[in-house]
């Protein structure tokens, strides 16, 4: 458990890397940090137009229905895909300097997470403007959902970042998996569109299903989510994080030689 103390000592490094990533991303552009908000805003605008005129959906306020699920999904999928590549991307650091290697995937996922939080400012605005309104009790659940998702994303990123160093195909395999995964998760459609109850249950094997459903409950339906499925997702998150840490700690000794 020495690693946790060490990671605590290196908290400033995690902080610096996250800040560097967030601030560095839009440095040099005229609008700079504003892009963090403009991006999701226009994404939303495009969906609204697309699903109101081009491809009208029977679901009421489909743009919001989609948006509240898509932003958390993007956080998850980019954490897994980008996180898997994070060690290789910081090859110069890893092969030249000592620091607890866990810092790299942690700061990558955290930076994606902060990005999501910033997008949530737009979500809140839209939720209020669209008339769905905010249910204070449901809102209290939101941090819990976010933490569960963060834990899962981190576990996946740890696991795959270590594996990708030794097996570079992982990166491409993951991009196919996440592409398929979005359809196995009710991001683009509501979960009750699956009428067969047994199949619907099967969908809940996918831990991301309960997370996305919970987000939508809070933000679209303004109701308190089903915490029992979320608990399973939490359990799964902890498990994958544990596996991720374990595999990572086994493989990290050889990173420098392999890179």
């Amino acid at each position: 458990m020495n690693i946790f103390k060490e990671l605590y000592d290196y908290r400033q490094m995690i902080f610096s890397l996250v800040r560097k990533d967030l601030r560095g991303r839009y440095k040099g552009s005229v609008l700079g940090f504003l892009w963090t908000f403009i991006n999701p805003l226009f994404q939303l605008l495009v969906y609204t137009i697309a699903f109101s005129f081009i491809l009208p959906s029977p679901i009421e306020k489909y743009y919001l229905h989609l948006f509240v699920a898509l932003i958390p999904w993007i956080f998850f999928s980019s954490s897994v895909q980008g996180g898997a590549n994070s060690i290789i991307a910081s090859k110069d650091l890893v092969s030249k300097i000592y620091f607890p290697r866990e810092v790299i995937p942690i700061s990558y996922v955290t930076s994606c997470f902060v990005n999501m939080l910033l997008s949530f400012i737009i979500i809140f605005l839209v939720v209020i403007v669209s008339g769905v309104g905010i249910n204070p009790l449901a809102m209290l659940c939101l941090p819990v959902i976010m933490i569960v998702e963060y834990i899962m994303a981190l576990g996946m990123a740890m696991l795959f970042s270590a594996i990708t160093v030794f097996f570079r195909d992982m990166e491409h395999i993951l991009s196919i998996i996440t592409m398929a995964w979005i359809y196995l998760t009710p991001v683009l459609y509501p979960i009750n569109m699956i009428e067969n109850k047994t199949i619907q249950k099967l969908f809940y094997i996918n831990p991301m299903t309960s997370v996305i459903v919970a987000y939508r409950d809070v933000l679209y339906y303004a109701k308190v989510p089903d915490l029992s499925t979320l608990l399973i997702a939490f359990g799964f998150g902890i498990l994958i994080l544990f596996i991720g840490f374990f595999v990572f700690s086994k493989l990290k000794r050889h990173f420098a030689e392999e890179l």
Binding site: Y10, F15, K96, Y98
Partner: protein, 430 residues
């Protein structure tokens, strides 16, 4: 671990896998499973040493001997295959300067990023910020983006951060070549200062003088083993001598190849070409009334030789034939360095104020006390008439090499005797 020691390395071995044909992806792994053969190369074959707290050591050796690997093991970037490494206290490495710098962020922001990579917390960085900026001499520019910095400024900033981390153990790899001479001196003084404060230092460098100035012990690593350790000056002398020997072996090989090349060439065009005793690059002039038929460089025992020590006595031995009788002439020789610096030249007339009678055939020899410093040299020989007509003049008739284990510099050795405050220092001439 001994409590006086900061670093203890015990019988550390490290191997690398050298792949003949590495397949890193699935296709290669499955299809060419047999192909991914690799060879274990032992870079370190059992190294042990310990460093006391506040001591500085240097690791030297030729490229690829394992010294940088040793340093990487100490930094914990890599781990040994067997053996143990124990260290106490915070370790900072000056292996990679400017790690994590973002070109678009200001110098100040980059200080925070870079220092945090060394494991400093925000509070600790705040405390050192002024020192770092002051040391880097970048006060005016500290809030400009790093991409606007010159490379010297960049390195100065990076070095300032690394050296102000206040580690207990500092590992340095070949980085004291930062900035201009002034800043280098400053870095060096800073190193001494932190050493005096009790920091343990390990330096890997080819700049042997730097190691001599700051380290108590030097370890010479060769082929993954410690070949010699002790007072830097002595270890370095042995090291340089061994390097010199290797260089000479190399030279001998090329020389032999050249001689072999000469012979085949002379077989091809026997009339035009230079005689065998001449170097390939030789140039011959003159009327041909008198011709050299042999030219050799000899050692004191009279044996042919082309590698000499700076302190050797060298004999130039010449044979000639003359077509005319009763000539009077003047023999001379000259020595040029490889870069065509004229090192020395003289002739009989200069030395004796007289000319010598030239017989039908004969031999000439001149012995001189060598004092040329290590390098490659060429010998010129010539014979002139008393009124300056060139009979025969061969430029670069022979090439030879001078080596020495002493490290004086310049063109030739001036025998020096030191007297400091009345006490005479003199190392015996070997």
């Amino acid at each position: 671990m001994d409590k006086d020691n900061a670093i203890e390395v015990r019988d550390v071995k490290k191997k690398f896998k050298i792949y003949y044909d590495k397949g890193n992806d699935l296709k290669d792994r499955i299809l060419f499973r047999n192909r991914s053969h690799y060879e274990d190369r032992w870079v370190l074959k059992g190294i042990s040493f310990s460093v006391k707290k506040g001591e500085a050591i240097g690791l030297i050796g030729h490229n690829g001997c394992g010294k940088s690997t040793t340093l990487k093991l100490l930094t914990k970037i890599m781990y040994p295959d067997s053996g143990t490494i124990e260290m106490c206290g915070r370790v900072s490495s000056l292996i990679e300067l400017g790690a994590g710098f973002h070109p678009d962020m200001s110098g100040r922001e980059n200080i925070y990023t870079n220092a945090s990579i060394f494991g400093l917390t925000k509070k600790e960085i705040d405390k050192r910020l002024n020192d770092i900026i002051e040391f880097s001499e970048l006060e005016e520019f500290i809030d400009n983006p790093v991409r606007t910095y010159s490379s010297g400024m960049y390195m100065r900033l990076a070095f300032s951060v690394a050296i102000n981390v206040s580690a207990n153990i500092l590992l340095i790899d070949e980085i004291l070549a930062v900035g201009d001479a002034n800043f280098q001196k400053k870095c060096f003084d800073k190193l001494r200062e932190i050493k005096a404060e009790g920091t343990t230092i390990v330096i890997v460098s080819h700049a042997l003088e730097q190691i001599e100035q700051i380290c108590e012990t030097s370890y010479w690593i060769e082929d993954g083993l410690i070949k010699e350790s002790g007072t830097p000056k002595y270890v370095h002398e042995h090291y340089l001598y061994s390097m010199e020997q290797k260089r000479i072996e190399q030279l001998e090989k090329t020389h032999n190849a050249e001689v072999a090349g000469n012979q085949t060439e002379s077989e091809k065009k026997p009339e035009e070409s230079l005689p065998d005793f001449c170097d390939k690059s030789a140039v011959r002039m003159g009327t041909g009334d008198v011709r050299f038929t042999d030219a050799q460089m000899r050692n004191e025992k009279g044996e042919k030789q082309y590698i000499f020590d700076t302190e050797d006595k060298i004999t130039v031995y010449l044979k000639y034939k003359s077509e005319k009788k009763g000539l009077k002439g003047n023999f001379g020789y000259g020595i040029f360095r490889e870069d065509s610096l004229h090192c020395y030249g003289t002739n009989v007339s200069i030395e004796c104020d007289d000319f010598v009678p030239i017989e039908e055939s004969g031999e000439v020899s001149v012995t001189f006390q060598n004092s040329l410093l290590p390098g490659k040299y060429f010998l010129d020989v010539a014979v002139h008439s008393h009124d300056g007509i060139i009979f025969d003049d061969i430029r670069r008739v022979q090439s030879f090499v001078v080596s020495s284990s002493k490290r004086d510099i310049g063109v030739c050795r001036l025998q020096s005797e030191w007297s400091v405050n009345g006490k005479i220092f003199k190392k015996g001439v070997k």
